[in-house]
């Protein structure tokens, strides 16, 4: 019996352990599954914002519902959703969009008409009357915005590099001060304010035309407020209203000297997060890119400040020798731009994004600090909460609003979102810090110097667009930077191999299509787009095993990662598709760019479109039957040092591409985590997981956490305590980083800004790390300080997540008093300070998600029902109260 018991026990133990082992193994297998978290994701187009929000409340498992919407919630709906729909979660993105004004400063000696905007002081005065904090942020944007004073965004890595300059500008809400500046400017210019309050120049009323974008209620409100203030000041203002198309005609399409507009309300969307704001500064302040009045259009009057242009160009081309020099240039440009005030920056808007919390966990969503949750990482991580079979449904405003060719297409954010789903980049950026991160390629910056000192090997190669072949660069070239990329190849989604031939084909394309205007393989638009970059590549060298490539560049940046990302050679389109599209361009079927297609009178090449995909398929079949090998793989190939591409691979490429097009009826594929399995234009796109992607899921899972810094507490002399003039003010802060714990000095960047009792900025500095994790302090002498209430603002941001925490406190500075032995009657225990907690002002802190109370009122449906009832009663009365026929 004992033996039997033992055997039974053993058998049970074996069974249990094997079950456990199976469970464990299954979990292991599940953990190692490659590809994204969801097997299937749908994009459903819902263009109406109200319908889109209603769809989110339903959830993607209900007909017509969605799990998340990849477009911002209209501000009026945010509160309504938070209050009335507990099943809907909201995530805020602090850099959703930007608002600004562009001014037309064309001088009177050009037009013959007095233009107050010609005068810098007048323009600068406008900065103060706009009341960013009280009017735009608080009243118009309901708190869902931050004041924006310069091109460097508040939520950007560069902000702390320019903060002192920005603060020292002293731009604030001060209507009277602004009016005073404007008055002084006009008086100096010779204008006179009459008894009727109207400004006149030579007896003619001073007038301005303000173009207000009426398709955006926020800009409408800003424009109307500005108009009211200008009229109040005594300027005659006429308003022009319209949408983007009207703006194209009146503003962007007109010569500033025609004075069809004076002020225009601009709005900008945020693209992906970048660390350094050089390009933004260049775009917003310098004239060459065509964003300043005149729009770089030959024949128009063009605004230009040569100093700003030169400095901004230096910034964007890396014409500096150190980080300090770069920051100095940046600060100078910022200051000059503010003084010029041709473009006046108003606010950074918060965008709200909605998701259904019954279906989706916020822990699976990645909030990229520019694109919001509509980014590739969210697509990679998102999955239904309880792993039901109902797949994730993502609502999108549009599936696509343009073409999807990789050269001149992908111009709208909707098509780009689909491209994110299907493609793996070589290098990408951390969604929270903007840091460059390797994705399908690792890189090493072998050499970097502001001075070109590195001898480029004579056997480095480049494509000669004139002779249409690969050539060696020869000796004598010197590079500023050298970067080696090591690729993680795999397969394209059509099954064909992804390898070094795709990389080299991309480089051939870059040189060929921009290099020889006499060739059929040349696009002027493409040449102008890539011109600034292609000249920076001195040559390339491929490793014999074809797994890495070295770039020799005439470009330098103090941050080596920015050198690596400057010209990432990774290919996201297989060469066989590129070759087919090239053939379609040359044959006149289509063009790369929309404007090019308009000018050439043909189609904008779009691999997403079935007719274009069929055309590409026909070309590929033709290539296959004629044994065509692109000259990018034959002409001068021996200098690459690589083996010739085999014909079997060539055939495989063509046939696999044809098979894919036959299966899916489009040619929009790449090497990424999702395959576009179904596309119904204007309605739906279905993506299925690509389990053959070689990347480990941990690569994108890490971004679901935001390691933001937080000021946990501030200890300082709170009222009624005070600091005696001449004494040292000290504040001790406890700072932590989410998901990490108390912060150390190297984990955060910090600053404080001090304002005197008049609100004037007087000094800034850094927080001092106390040596113990979490403890930081600020100390400074108050010698020379005038008595009064001072404000100090602490700005703390972690290096891993660029969303700062900002807290402001106030402290009192008093003149020294002579102590006496007389007892004075004071409240509280004598001589000791009672600590009274006074709420700290948070002028620029991150907004909490609390919904303000909505005014009570009658909704639209109720009104319409009342109207309907009145009509029915009236009709009944008419009918039933008629006298019957005799």
């Amino acid at each position: 019996m004992g033996k039997k018991k033992l055997v039974v026990l053993l058998a049970i133990a074996v069974m249990l352990s094997s079950m456990f082992a199976v469970q464990f193994n299954v979990k292991q297998v599940q953990a190692q599954q490659l590809g994204p978290a969801s097997d299937v994701i749908y994009f459903r187009q819902i263009s109406d914002d109200n319908q889109a929000m209603t769809a989110v409340t339903l959830g993607g498992d209900v007909a017509g519902g969605t799990d998340i919407h990849f477009y911002r919630v209209p501000p009026p709906l945010v509160t309504e959703l938070l209050q009335n729909h507990p099943e809907v979660g909201i995530i805020f993105n602090p850099q959703g969009g930007y608002l600004s004004l562009i001014l037309n400063p064309v001088p009177m000696n050009v037009t013959g008409v007095f233009n107050p905007l010609e005068y810098r002081e007048f323009r600068y005065g406008l900065q103060f009357i706009l009341e960013r904090e009280s009017k735009i942020v608080t009243e118009i944007q309901k708190g869902y915005a931050t004041p924006w004073l310069t091109p460097v965004a508040y939520y950007s890595y560069d902000y702390l590099n320019v903060a002192s300059t920005v603060e020292s500008l002293g731009i604030r809400d001060d209507l009277n001060y602004g009016y005073q500046l404007m008055t002084d400017a006009l008086t100096k210019a010779g204008a006179v304010k009459g008894a009727d309050g109207i400004w006149r120049y030579n007896g003619v009323p001073v007038s301005l035309k303000v173009f207000i974008r009426t398709d955006d209620p926020v800009r409408t409100a800003i424009g109307n407020d500005l108009v009211a203030k200008l009229r109040n000041f005594g300027i005659q203002v006429s308003t022009l209203t319209g949408d983007l198309l009207a703006a194209f005609a009146a503003v962007y399409g007109s010569d500033p000297k025609d004075l069809m507009w004076s002020i225009y309300t601009e709005g900008w969307g945020a693209t992906s997060l970048v660390k350094y704001q050089d390009t933004a500064v260049y775009q917003y302040l310098a004239s060459p890119l065509g964003y300043m009045p005149g729009w770089a259009t030959p024949g128009f009057w063009n605004y230009a400040n040569s100093t700003i242009d030169k400095l901004a160009t230096d910034l964007v081309t890396g014409n500096f020798t150190s980080e300090q020099e770069r920051n100095q240039i940046l600060n100078t440009v910022i200051k000059l731009g503010a003084q010029e005030s041709v473009r006046i920056f108003l606010a950074e808007q918060y965008d709200a994004y909605a998701y259904n919390s019954r279906r989706v966990s916020p822990a699976d969503l990645v909030n990229e600090y520019a694109e919001g949750i509509a980014n590739r990482f969210t697509l990679y991580n998102i999955k239904p909460i309880n792993n039901t079979s109902a797949p994730i449904v993502v609502g999108v405003k549009y599936l696509s609003q343009g073409a999807a060719n990789p050269i001149g297409g992908l111009t709208d954010v909707y098509t780009v979102m689909m491209y994110y789903a299907i493609s793996d980049p070589g290098i990408w950026r951390d969604p929270h810090s903007g840091d460059v991160i390797p994705w399908r390629e690792n890189f090493k910056v072998v050499y970097a110097s502001p001075v070109a000192n590195y001898n480029v090997p004579a056997d480095a190669i480049k494509w000669d667009a004139i002779h249409e072949k690969w050539v060696t660069v020869g000796s004598g070239l010197k590079a500023k930077s050298v970067v080696t990329y090591n690729f993680t190849f795999g397969n394209w989604q059509d099954g064909s191999p992804n390898n070094i031939y795709d990389i080299l084909y991309g480089l051939y394309f870059l040189w060929q299509w921009s290099g020889n205007p006499n060739s059929t393989r040349y696009s002027a638009t493409y040449a102008s787009a890539v011109g600034p970059f292609v000249n920076q590549i001195l040559g390339v060298k491929v490793s014999p095993d074809g797994k890495s490539l070295t770039l020799y560049l005439n470009y330098w940046h103090f941050d080596p990662n920015e050198i690596a990302v400057f010209l990432d050679p990774w290919a996201t389109t297989p060469w066989q598709l590129m070759a087919a599209m090239e053939q379609l361009y040359v044959s006149g079927f289509g063009s790369w760019y929309d404007s090019e297609a308009q000018a050439r009178g043909n189609a904008w090449l779009n691999p997403l479109a079935s007719t274009h995909a069929q055309a590409m398929r026909n070309v590929l079949l033709q290539f296959n039957s004629s044994n065509f090998v692109p000259d990018a793989f034959t002409s001068g190939w021996n200098v690459t040092g690589l083996p010739q591409i085999s014909m079997s691979e060539v055939y495989t490429r063509y046939t696999d591409a044809v098979k894919f097009i036959n299966t899916y009826n489009h040619a929009f594929y790449s090497n990424g985590l999702f395959i576009l399995a179904q596309y119904v234009s204007g309605t739906l796109a279905k993506f299925i997981a690509n389990r053959n992607d070689p990347l480990n899921p941990s690569k994108w899972q890490q971004f679901t956490a935001e390691d933001r810094a937080h000021i946990d507490s501030i200890s300082y002399p709170q009222l009624p305590s005070y600091v005696t003039q001449g004494q040292t003010f000290t504040a001790n802060l406890q700072i932590s980083i989410a998901n990490i714990g108390p912060a150390t000095g190297d984990q955060i960047r910090s600053a404080y800004f001090l304002y005197d009792p008049t609100g004037k900025f007087i000094q800034s500095g850094n927080l001092t790390y106390g040596g113990t994790p979490g403890s930081f302090s600020v100390s400074f002498s108050t010698a020379g300080f005038i008595p009064g209430l001072y404000k100090i603002t602490f700005y703390v941001v972690s290096k891993q997540a660029l969303w700062p925490d900002v807290e402001s406190v106030q402290f009192l500075v008093k003149t020294p008093t002579v102590t006496t032995t007389t007892t004075t009657s004071i409240t509280g225990s004598g001589g000791t300070t009672t600590s009274i907690t006074i709420p700290t002002g948070t002028t620029t802190s991150t907004p909490t998600i609390t919904a303000p109370s909505t005014p009570s009122g009658v909704d639209v449906y109720t009104i319409l029902i009342i109207v309907l009832a009145i009509i029915v009663v009236a009709a009944l009365a008419v009918v039933f109260l008629r006298r019957p026929r005799a």
């Binding site: 770089a296 259009t297 787009a529 011109g531 760019y593 404007s595 000018a599």
Partner: protein
């Protein structure tokens, strides 16, 4: 004039009306078309110049040189599209193309298959609009006829009064409001029907029946909203037309002969009132291709109405022009057919 002569004269009339209407439309919008195309070329040139300045700033130092280059490039591109010709030389080719249904390429819109040829885009949308609005017109006509007929047969009766009240009320409704209300109730609250679209592409359709049922489900709400706003008014029109007809002597005679009531209504009264009814129906059919813009937009029904909404929003002039042309043709042809049918049903108006 004999009937066939009349037919020939009317046909020529129809053709002339179409030609003159389109010529006037093109003439009125010619400047707009021209400016839009020229602006597109200027944008292209500006982009090229901007790129040159970025690539090689030295080239842009000499403003005269770069200006000359820009002018030359602009002239070349304009010449390629014939935009440099005088307006009277451009007008005829445009008119000729349009009359032959060659509308060129859309500026930004595309068909589902990616083709941006305007005729392809429109041809793709027409069946969807016909399905929605054709069904709506059919249902409205049938229901309206029946209701109008029975209410005219018993004036001041319960049905008659109900039809009057319902007719006046529904006529006052805005189609978009009814659509939104139906969406709110049946799609979002009761979750019985899908809110938008033509089909649900997330569910598999194994056979034609699946497709049929799915499309029918998606069709229900927009169709219902269109019928609700139209049927009341239509019933009132029929009622008013028939009320006097039913009071005629020949109807009394038929009744006294013992003809079944149903035959009296549908065989005698209806036939007598047919000409104006058919005229109205014929004109409604023409209205199909006006596309119920608002209804299609509310329900994201991918037909002609939504197409013209998108085209207006994007100022896609070739599509707008093509839409106007087709609408003009259909209205003119519908009038023509109505004329012919009137002549067939009412011998008194066959000849002038």
């Amino acid at each position: 004039m004999g009937f066939y002569s009349y037919l020939a004269v009317r046909s020529i009339n129809v053709f002339l009306v179409i030609v003159v209407t389109m010529a006037l439309t093109i003439g009125l919008f010619f400047n707009a078309f021209h400016d839009i195309k020229v602006q597109a070329i200027k944008d292209e040139v500006r982009g090229i110049i901007s790129g040159i300045c970025r690539t090689n700033p030295a080239r842009c130092q000499n403003q005269t040189d770069i200006q000359n280059y820009a002018n030359q490039l602009t002239a070349t591109l304009m010449h390629a599209q014939g935009l440099d010709k005088p307006w009277y030389e451009q007008l005829w080719p445009i008119l000729r193309d349009i009359l032959s249904f060659n509308f060129g390429r859309a500026q930004s819109l595309q068909a589902d298959n990616g083709d941006n040829t305007v005729s392809v885009i429109i041809a793709e949308r027409i069946p969807r609009t016909v399905l929605l609005l054709g069904t709506a017109v059919l249902l409205t006509t049938i229901i309206g006829l029946v209701l109008g007929l029975y209410s005219a047969n018993k004036p001041q009766g319960i049905l008659d009064k109900t039809v009057i009240v319902a007719g006046l009320t529904s006529n006052a409704f805005a189609a978009w409001w009814v659509g939104l209300l139906l969406q709110f109730i049946f799609a979002y609250q009761l979750r019985l029907l899908p809110p938008i679209g033509i089909m649900d592409y997330t569910i598999p359709h194994n056979n034609f029946f699946d497709v049929f049922v799915d499309v029918l489900r998606h069709l229900t709400l927009p169709l219902t909203s269109l019928v609700i706003v139209s049927v009341g008014g239509w019933a009132l029109v029929v009622r008013n037309l028939l009320i006097s007809t039913l009071a005629e002597d020949f109807i009394s005679a038929a009744r006294s002969k013992g003809v079944p009531e149903r035959r009296i209504l549908f065989g005698h009264a209806m036939r007598s009132a047919a000409p104006p009814i058919i005229t109205i129906v014929a004109l409604s059919v023409a209205g199909i291709f006006g596309g119920a813009i608002i209804t299609e937009t509310v329900f994201q029904w991918n037909g002609l109405g939504w197409l013209i909404w998108q085209a207006i929003g994007r100022l896609d002039m070739p599509v707008i022009l093509a839409f106007f042309y087709i609408s003009t043709i259909l209205i003119v042809i519908a009038n023509f057919i109505a004329d012919m049918l009137y002549g067939i049903f009412d011998p008194r108006v066959k000849t002038g």
